[in-house]
Amino acid sequence: MKAKVYVTLKPSVLDPQGKAIRHSAELLGFEDIAEIRQGKYFEIALGSELSESEAKNTAEKIAKDVLANPVIEDYRVELENSRK
């Protein structure tokens, strides 16, 4: 089972890196950009013996306790079940 974790800056937090990236994109000729915000993406491969809800809980905990800083960031967890 794979968990995908997206960590993004809270909407209230300014993102100087995103701003610089947007500027570069504009220099390339992409004019109609309202905003670019930078985030982080993690893939966590979890043990196959975990149930879906256990996997989700584990990934949520890792995201909350390690991957994101709750002062400035939000996170979102998605599960991808590799057992088809």
């Binding site: 209230s12 300014l14 100087p16 890196q17 390690v66 800083n69 002062v71």
Partner: protein, 233 residues
Amino acid sequence: MKFGIIVFPGSNCDHDAYHVVSKHVGQPVDFIWHKETDLSSYDAIIVPGGFSYGDYLRAGALARFSPVMKAVKKFAGEGKFVFGICNGFQILCESGLLPGALMRNENLHFICKHVNIRVENQNTPYTNEIEKGKVLSIPIAHAEGNYVCDEATFHQLEENNQIVFRYCDENGETTDATNPNGSLSNIAGICNQDRNVLGMMPHPERACEELLGSNHGRDIFRSLTNQITELAA
């Protein structure tokens, strides 16, 4: 009186701090490897600057999981002194020992230069020897020194006089132009509510001898040793 300096993989201002404590403060000092779990023999702990864990994930984010940080939290909880400088400040914020977070500098540059900071509160263990409003010249060297916190936290910091240093010009004026990194309200250093934990982005340990351009950092270390001496008396 005994100082301890935590050494994480990637710390690089640990020797500067050691030099200042042993030579200018004139007190016994140990390096403490991050795997240590007992800090009971120390009066003050310095969390030094550097790039602990290569700044992976976020500056200071991984250091907070080092075994020694549990001991640092306990130590701070006992009212003993924890002084975080630069990466040390980032680690203390990530650990929750200080509120807020340090983000990428507004202009995205790594900034390495002398700046002026104004002492905003004299009633802390780290500033008791310095007049309120005094301007100190201390170098900064960071890419993530842009202090942020939410409005409620900022209000609390102001109410409790926890903002200890602000970036300013040589006359003590704080303006946007004197804010090197985009920090909220020109914040350069804050303490916790109990005042025993201080974090600051500027490096006072690099400003303790005139040869290096300034000795203003000594006032901060002198304040701390005074406080420890008074407590012991």
